[in-house]
């Protein structure tokens, strides 16, 4: 019985791994897109579950860290280039026989060619000088590191904050990040957003099959494997002393400290790890959808992640991830409007009402979500019987 969650988990992994190869229904690209987005939210929900459900740190700034990862990758790909010759116009440094070029910040303009230092240089060079974009993977790594370092900083700042104060602090942090991105138009292009190269901009060959930059299979597996990597890291952490200590921190930080747990270290550590995961998801998603805007950081997006984790089960990161995928798919399925007795129900709006009702029902009747209790049921199978048997053996009682 106790192996049921592991077996079910393995089956789900195999199902999602095989799905793009065996799916033959219609709207292939759309279906893949829904699942890629589901995996993206699953990373956010599971990492938030580790932060809030395991460690008890109710942060509402998770989307801000996702945004830092996304904008980190976007800024890197937008501003940094390698050229074979110096432009003489941009900020540039000699770099292993080539030139590391940092473009000037020109904000939102219709005269890119005349204001963009690199574009000016290229127009002069023609095809005679090679210009390279920075590797997408490097941008994702840098975005992840930027998110993790921001998480480290916020973790240090909120050491003494608990419950509502922590939630409000992180909410404020999130709004500040969004405001800064919106305000710094010269650098971030504000509400106009920044365009990024595709995740596999030059196409990719997997097992002898060539895929173009617009094919869905490569980004599907990129996001899927990122989700698996995050879940594996979270599982390893949860089963190690780290998991034990952050749960003790959640239950009673003072009691944990009195038993020798360095609560400061683990609080900062859990912030850093989980925010780095959110940033990684943001960076990959940014390259997948190829544009970042401040709207990614809307409070509604954070609410969606929280709701996904809560409906799955906030105290179990696997349940939170499954909740995210399930809800993402459900929200898309419920887009189809229908008529009852001549009255058309516009599901593009009403689906959010159903979603809200589901959230309220779960919060009222299933405090640990819909999926986590199932996992708990199987994982703890036989515990009650074992307790009763041992007690009976000890006392000679026949009744539990």
């Amino acid at each position: 019985m106790r192996q049921v969650p592991n077996i079910a988990g393995l089956c789900l992994v195999l199902f999602f791994a095989a799905f793009p190869l065996v799916y033959t229904g219609g709207n292939y690209d759309y279906v893949m897109h829904v699942l890629i987005t589901g995996f993206f939210y699953a990373i956010l929900a599971s990492s938030w579950s580790m932060l809030a459900g395991y460690a008890g740190q109710f942060s509402f700034g998770h989307m801000a860290f996702m945004g830092i990862g996304a904008y980190g990758a976007a800024l890197f790909s937008h501003y940094f280039y390698l050229t074979a010759e110096p432009t003489g116009l941009c900020t540039e440094y000699a770099f292993f026989g080539n030139w590391l070029v940092i473009k000037n910040a020109i904000g939102v303009t219709s005269t890119t060619l005349t204001q963009d230092c690199l574009e000016q240089a290229i127009s002069g060079w023609g095809d005679s000088v090679k210009v390279w974009r920075m590797p997408v993977l490097l941008g994702i790594v840098l975005g992840t590191v930027a998110g993790g370092l921001s998480g480290l900083l916020v973790g240090l700042l909120v050491l003494r904050l608990r419950a509502a104060y922590l939630a409000l602090f992180t909410l404020g942090f999130s709004e500040i990040i969004k405001a800064v991105i919106s305000a710094e138009i010269d650098i971030t292009r504000g509400q106009a957003g920044m365009v990024l190269p595709a995740l596999f901009n030059d196409g990719v060959t997997i097992l002898g099959t060539e895929f173009t930059r617009t094919d869905k299979i490569p980004p599907y597996y990129a996001m899927f494997f990122l989700l698996l990597a995050c879940l594996l890291i979270l599982t390893w952490l949860a089963r190690s002393r780290f998991g034990l200590f952050v749960r003790a921190l959640r239950e009673d930080a003072d009691a944990a400290a009195a038993l020798g747990v360095n609560t400061t270290r683990y609080k900062v550590f859990v912030f850093t790890i989980t925010t780095a995961m959110a940033a990684a998801a943001g960076a990959v998603q940014a390259h997948y959808i190829q544009i970042v805007t401040p709207n990614m950081l809307f409070l509604l997006q954070m609410s969606l992640v929280v709701a996904m984790a809560v409906i799955g089960g906030v105290e179990n990161f696997v349940a939170a991830a499954l909740g995210a995928i399930f809800l993402q798919v459900m929200l898309e399925l419920m887009r189809t409007s229908f008529s009852i007795g001549g009255v058309t129900v516009d599901m593009t709006t009403w689906r959010l009402v159903f979603f809200g009702v589901l959230l309220m029902v779960v919060l009222r009747f299933f405090r640990n979500g819909l999926i986590a209790p199932l996992i708990d049921y199987f994982a703890r199978a036989g515990v009650a019987e074992e307790t009763i048997a041992k007690r009976t053996a000890k006392t000679g009682e026949t009744q539990p």
């Binding site: 002393r241 009673d252 003072d254 944990a256 009195a258 038993l259 020798g260 747990v261 307790t387 000890k394």
Partner: protein, 245 residues
């Protein structure tokens, strides 16, 4: 050799002077009872000893190391453990997991069979081994007291502060706590026992100290303290008062 030395300890909260120059010395395995009416400063003294709050002035040394400015986790690692007046078990963790926390935090054990065996031995001693895989929230109040004591066994400190270990505990479980305290003493621990249960504290303690309004008004054998006029006035009450009552 265990040596805890508290010197001229003061603590004020705003205009409230809670501890007024408390001096205390513990040498070797002793069992010291702490008495005092509500508001006497017992819990404040405990919180200062375990690092949860810092004193306004004064020093605390444990085995030659100053501990009054350390963080609680550093104090625990230095060799001082405590229980809380109101039980603070990790309710959504199993009984075994509760016991693993201090052993792993101190780093003297790693995850594996030895840790499980040690935890099992502790639970058997405390008579709650049948509850090992249950969540702590499923335990009764008395069983949660035992679980707190079990965590201290896993922490294995030199000095143990037990804050009201008998409060709300069934007489049958009290016997287990008595045995626990005697075992700790026989293992060479210094135990500071804070309790309002006069029978228990007089039966167990070799030495009693009494706090009143933040001052240490008596320090001696239970018999001496029982007959100390200042203690009678402040805490125990005079016979004529009892007669009148």
């Amino acid at each position: 050799m265990i040596h805890l030395k508290v010197t001229n300890l003061h603590k004020s909260f705003g205009g409230l002077h809670v501890l007024k120059g408390v001096n205390l010395e513990v040498n070797g395995p002793e069992l010291i009872g702490v008495l005092g009416p509500n508001g006497a400063g017992k819990t404040t003294l405990t919180n200062i000893l375990d690092g949860a709050i810092k004193p306004s002035s004064g020093t605390v040394y444990l085995n030659g190391r100053r501990i009054d400015q350390l963080q609680p986790y550093e104090v625990a690692r230095a060799g001082l453990g405590r229980t809380f007046q109101v039980t603070r078990s990790f309710r959504r963790m199993t009984v075994l997991e509760n016991l693993y926390v201090p052993a792993l935090a101190l780093g003297h054990m790693s995850q594996g069979r030895a840790l499980t065996e040690r935890a099992t031995e502790v639970l058997e001693f405390l008579t709650i081994d049948h509850l090992r895989n249950e969540y702590a929230r499923a335990l009764s109040g008395g069983q949660q007291k035992l679980l707190e004591l079990g965590r201290l066994l896993m922490l294995d400190p030199d000095v143990i502060i037990l804050d009201e270990p008998f409060a709300g505990v069934h007489p049958k479980l009290m016997e287990v706590i008595y045995a626990y305290i005697r075992r700790m003493k026989s293992e060479g621990k210094a135990i500071i026992l804070i309790s309002h249960q006069m029978d228990a504290i007089f039966a167990l303690s070799e030495r009693l100290i009494v706090l009143n309004f933040g001052e240490l008004i008596a320090d001696g054998s239970p018999e001496d303290v029982k007959n100390d006029p200042a203690v009678i006035e402040a805490y125990l009450g005079r016979d004529d008062e009892e007669d009148a009552a």
